[in-house]
Symmetry: C2
Subunit: 187 residues, 2 copies
C-alpha cells in the first residue's frame, strides 16, 4: 500500500500552516516544513514538486476552509443580505480558526503575489454580488471595507484596538448591516 499518501500530504500542509501561523513568513522554508512534520525534505518534495506548489495548496486549503464556513452561515441565515452573510462568516472564521490563519495570505504576498489571484477572484465575485442590489451597494461596500480594514490591521499586527474593542466593532458593523434590511426588503 502506498504508505499513506493522502494523510502524508495533509500532514505536510498542516505543518506548513502551523509554521505560517506560529512563526513568521520568512521561516516557512522547505527544510522547516520537513522537520516540523517529521519527514525528510525529499519526502516533502515528493508530494509537492516545488515550494510554489506547496503554497498553492496552502491557499486552496485556506479558501476552502473559508468557503466551508460561508456555507454553514448560508444554511443558518437564509434570505439575508450578502454583506450580512459576509460579516457573519467573518465572525465565524474568527471564532474558530483564528485570524492568524489568514497569515498565509501574508506569506503568499511575500513569496509569490500571483498566489493571491485566487483570493482576489473571491473578492471580485463578492463585488459582483453586491452590485446586484444597487440601492444598498455603497453602504455594503463601506461595511465590507471596514471589516477588511479591521482584519488587515490585526493581520499585520498593528491594530490599535484590543480584542474586546474589535469585538464591539464587529458587532456594531453587523447591526449596521442588519439595519440595511433583508433580501426581500421587509424588516
Amino acid at each position: 500500500m502506498p504508505r499513506d499518501k493522502v494523510s502524508s500530504r495533509q500532514k505536510i500542509i498542516e505543518s506548513a500552516i502551523d509554521i505560517a501561523i506560529n512563526q513568521g513568513p520568512r521561516t516557512l522554508t522547505l527544510d522547516n516544513v520537513a522537520e516540523n512534520c517529521g519527514m525528510s525534505k525529499g519526502g516533502v518534495m515528493h508530494h509537492f514538486k516545488n515550494k510554489e506548489a506547496l503554497l498553492e495548496a496552502l491557499m486552496d486549503n485556506l479558501m476552502e476552509t473559508a468557503k466551508g464556513y460561508e456555507n454553514s452561515v448560508c444554511e443558518e441565515h437564509q434570505n439575508v443580505l450578502p454583506i450580512n452573510r459576509m460579516l457573519r462568516t467573518r465572525e465565524r472564521v474568527h471564532e474558530q480558526v483564528d485570524l492568524d490563519y489568514a497569515r498565509i495570505l501574508l506569506v503568499a504576498a511575500n513569496e509569490n503575489p500571483a498566489l493571491l489571484t485566487i483570493f482576489k477572484n473571491h473578492l471580485s465575485e463578492f463585488v459582483e454580488e453586491l452590485k446586484q442590489d444597487p440601492g444598498r451597494y455603497f453602504d455594503s461596500v463601506v461595511l465590507w471595507l471596514a471589516i477588511d480594514g479591521l482584519s488587515f490591521q490585526e493581520l499585520l499586527g498593528v491594530s490599535p484596538f484590543s480584542e474586546n474593542e474589535r469585538q464591539t466593532i464587529r458587532n456594531k458593523l453587523l447591526s449596521m448591516a442588519e439595519s440595511l434590511g433583508d433580501k426581500t426588503g421587509e424588516n
Copy 2:
C-alpha cells in the same frame, strides 16, 4: 566634508525604497540595495550597521513623509474633524507618493514585525484623538477602517475595484465624513 554623507545615505534609502516598491519584499537584500545605488556592500554597511538599521530608516522615512502631508492638510483645512483630516491626508498621500510607498510596511512586516511598532503607535494616537469626541467615535472608526481596508487591499494587490471605483469610494467616504459636521458642531 566627507564625500557626501547626507546624500549617500539618502541615496541608499531611496534605492531600498525603489526595490521595496518595484520588486517584492524578498528582493530587498543588502546586495541588491548596494548594486541598485551603485555602491559596494561594504559602503552600505558603513552607513547602516545592519539590515535592521536600514529598515528602521525606511520606516522613519515613510512616517515622516506621511506626517508632512498631514501637516499640509492641517494648514489648508482647519477646524475640521479628525476623521476628515485623516481622509484628506490619505487622499493626498495617494495622489503624490502613490500607495506603493506603503509597500515598505509589507517588507517590515515580513522582515521584522517590531518595526511596525512606530506605525502602530501612530494608529493608537489617532484612536485616542477620536475618543475625544465620543458622539462621533464609532462613525469615525467605521470610515477610518473602510479607508484602511481599501488601502490594504490595494497594498496586497487584491483589490477587486478599479482605480476609478476606488476614487469614487474615497470621495464618498470623504463626503460621509463631512456630513458628520465640523469640530464646532455647526454645519
